[in-house]
């Protein structure tokens, strides 16, 4: 599998590289800008069937008529979508023996999603190619997964090997016309993961993909599709990092989850894209559409996210609770520091009877950042006995940051019981004093208290992931006190 990478970048200081090794990679690019030809080019490069090309083109035409959403509480200079590259792939394919060489690093990656900054650099040097290349994931676990009948492969491979599944489900949760960025993604997406868990199968291991925007040629428009057939279970982990660069990079991913009767999908993310420097220069624009469809009865979809990176985050992992008795969960920690801007939350759309949802959002703002929770709980007329509980807590560190809570609660059925609570506070001086009296340094004390504040969410993460996420909390807040 060739590593296929796309990127959109605001052109400007694109010649500045922080890491010399990037220049070593010879890559093949589509011409600058986005036209129908770019879309055809991508599709051809990936050797796609006609129907998919048509699907992309339809999305592209639609996209041309759309305008960027402006309702989120984020500000950034206009993105010139024509002044960017939409396709770039290394000419060289990673060889297996070279993969073997980087294997230990890769393993490290999987053990430590949510990588500390120092390790990021290390990884950037050697393991990156292998990491982009979702192949490694597949090769590592292929046999074991195949035994269970689980399909786990890059999207482009799925298009070829399992066209019927892709055709059936692609765009069935996030239609290609859904929103500006999802539509853009539909036109130009390439990599991403495809997961299918057959009926009755409990996926024998955690599946994980580690996304990385490596250099200017490797921005992300990945598309992930996870289908849990009747009575199946899967836990999927997603980690993201990007190296430091001056220009802003766009990451516009789409994730679609489908849970059939009695199936459960647990989707965890540790998002640590480069947040930009202290002055707000550079960093990733993370404009992501994630949605799960609890299509079957008694199905369950649970989103857990730890968002520490990105210059701008615009992201609302949602659940459509269609099947009766289905359940949606959203557990989120969003930490912003420096000049980061986060506008994130969830939507719980209750369509089926006895559907339940739970939202726990912990927002931590430090530095000069802005952190917004935006969420919708909506109960349709026919959804009987809906239950929702929402808890949104914001913690402010320092007096130059801000925290916002924008919940929408809409119900058309009297049997629904919806509860929403939100608080805003700061770390108590006396809590800090108490910790420090025990010998804990100020930064560590802040990290400790913040981790306590986030505990309800951290507990939702798979074990090793949780440990790393805790460390990440500390790292993300560095320089926010004193």
């Amino acid at each position: 599998m060739a590593a296929v990478k796309e990127t959109v970048e605001t052109v400007g200081e694109i010649e500045k590289y922080k890491y010399g090794f990037f220049t070593d990679i010879e890559s093949e690019k589509a011409p600058l800008g986005l036209t129908e030809d770019t879309v055809r080019f991508i599709s051809a490069k990936k050797d796609e069937p006609e129907w998919l090309l048509e699907w992309r083109l339809a999305a592209f035409r639609r996209w041309q008529t759309m305008t960027e959403p402006t309702w989120a509480k984020v500000t950034y200079p206009p993105i010139d979508f024509q002044d960017a590259y939409y396709y770039s792939a290394p000419k060289q394919t990673v060889k297996l023996d070279s993969l073997d060489q980087v294997d230990p690093k890769l393993l490290e990656t999987y053990e430590k999603l949510g990588i500390p900054l120092t390790e990021q650099k290390m990884l950037a040097g050697v393991a990156v190619d292998a990491v982009f290349d979702s192949v490694s994931v597949v090769t590592t676990f292929k046999e074991k997964l195949a035994e269970a009948g689980v399909i786990f492969c890059p999207m482009s491979e799925a298009v070829k090997k399992h066209p019927e599944l892709v055709k059936k489900y692609l765009g069935s949760v996030v239609p290609s016309s859904d929103n500006f960025y999802a539509t853009l993604n539909s036109a130009v997406f390439s990599e991403g993961s495809f997961v299918y868990i057959p009926e009755g199968v409990r996926c024998p291991m955690e599946l994980s993909t580690y996304f990385r925007i490596n250099e200017k040629q490797t921005g992300q428009f990945e598309r992930t599709l996870i289908i849990a057939d009747k009575g199946s279970y899967v836990s999927y982990l997603e980690g993201c990092t990007a190296p430091q660069r001056d220009e802003n990079q766009l990451h516009a991913a789409v994730v679609e989850l489908i849970a059939h009767d009695d199936a459960e999908i647990k989707y965890s993310t540790v998002q640590n894209w480069f947040p930009g420097d202290e002055e707000g220069k550079g960093g990733v624009y993370n404009f992501v559409t994630k949605r799960g469809d609890c299509r079957g009865e008694n199905s369950k979809i649970s989103w857990t996210q730890v968002e520490t990176g990105s210059a701008i985050t615009w992201k609302y992992p949602s659940c459509i609770l269609r099947g009766d008795n289905s359940r949606g969960e959203f557990y989120s920690i969003a930490i912003s520091n420096g000049r980061q801007q986060v506008d994130s939350g969830t939507k719980m759309i209750h369509l089926g009877r006895n559907t339940t949802s739970r939202i726990v959002s912990k927002g931590i703002s430090a530095g000069r950042s802005s952190n917004t929770y935006r969420g919708l709980v909506s109960v349709h007329r026919k959804a009987e006995n809906v239950r929702n509980f929402t808890q949104c807590d914001s913690l402010l560190i320092g007096d130059r940051c801000s925290a916002h809570t924008v919940p929408y609660i809409e119900t058309k059925n009297p049997t629904a019981i919806l509860e929403h609570e939100a608080t805003t506070s700061k770390i108590g001086d006396d809590q800090l004093f108490y910790c420090m009296q025990r010998g804990i340094g100020e930064e560590e004390a802040v990290a400790l208290i913040v981790n306590g504040f986030c505990r309800d969410v951290l507990q939702q993460l798979p074990m090793e992931f949780a440990v790393e996420a805790q460390k990440l909390v500390g790292i993300s807040l560095e320089g926010s006190v004193g």
Partner: protein, 249 residues
């Protein structure tokens, strides 16, 4: 070990300590008694380095160093421990995590090796058993939902784990039932050693039956008005603070 000279402290613009002199040598236990509002907790906070407690005059030297130059966690790592009159609650941080973070932070600051999970666990078990601190308590968020007595026992547990050089116990006996009082006193006594000094702030002679002090001070209106042996406490129990010019409010 600790030399306090002519210490004046203001809090919120108001002078609370008005010239304290106090010498504590290694191995000694000093009791400080005195009416409510006389400045006992203030003294303990100043030793620990709490913000907002402004030293306007005087000095504090600890083990030959200027304590006032050190920040809060440096003092802790140097061995100053304060058992709080009102221990703080930290939601979401388990007592276990807190203990480990504190112990390892201090060890790190002193250039000692950090304890790994296994050794740490063993140590905590060892220290918590005699204090009747259950595993369940250790797993709960620090001080959250602890009863008054449980909080005090948790403070003593922290002390015995962190093995300070100078321990200041601010009314660690209040809110304890008789059995807990004994347990806590035993915990404290177990820590008594020639290298270690203690300051026990209390309102009750009762505690001093268990933790027998070498010296007893009476603090009133921001000054040490009397210093004596352990019998002084007995005397106070009988006659109150009236003769020291304090009204009990």
């Amino acid at each position: 070990m600790l030399e306090i000279r002519n210490l004046h402290v203001t809090v919120g613009g108001k002078e609370i300590l008005k010239g304290i002199d106090l010498d504590i040598r290694a191995g000694e236990v000093h009791a400080i008694m005195g009416p409510n509002g006389s400045g006992k907790s203030t003294l303990s906070y100043v030793l620990a380095g709490r913000d907002g407690y402004v030293v306007t005059e005087g000095s504090i030297r600890f083990k030959g160093k200027d304590l006032l130059e050190m920040n809060v966690d440096e003092r802790a790592a140097a061995g100053v421990f304060l058992a709080f009159q009102y221990p703080l609650e930290i939601p979401g941080v388990t007592t276990m995590t807190f203990l480990k973070t504190a112990l390892n932070a201090q060890r790190r600051a002193r250039g000692e090796e950090e304890l790994d999970a296994v050794r740490f666990l063993k140590l905590v078990r060892e220290k918590s058993r005699p204090l009747n601190v259950s595993d369940d308590m250790l797993k709960r968020s620090l001080n959250v939902g602890y009863s008054g007595g449980e909080k005090k026992r948790a403070e003593v547990l922290q002390m015995s784990l962190l093995e300070p050089v100078l321990a200041v116990l601010d009314e660690t006996d209040s809110g304890l039932d008789i059995d807990a009082l004994k347990t806590v006193a035993e915990g404290v006594n177990a820590l008594r050693s020639p290298e270690r000094a203690m300051v026990v702030i209390t309102h009750y002679q009762r505690l001093l039956d268990y933790i027998v002090p070498d010296v007893v001070h009476v603090l009133s209106q921001g000054r040490i008005v009397k210093t004596g042996g352990k019998d002084l406490a007995l005397e106070l129990e009988k006659s109150g603070y009236a003769e020291y010019g304090a009204d009990a409010a």
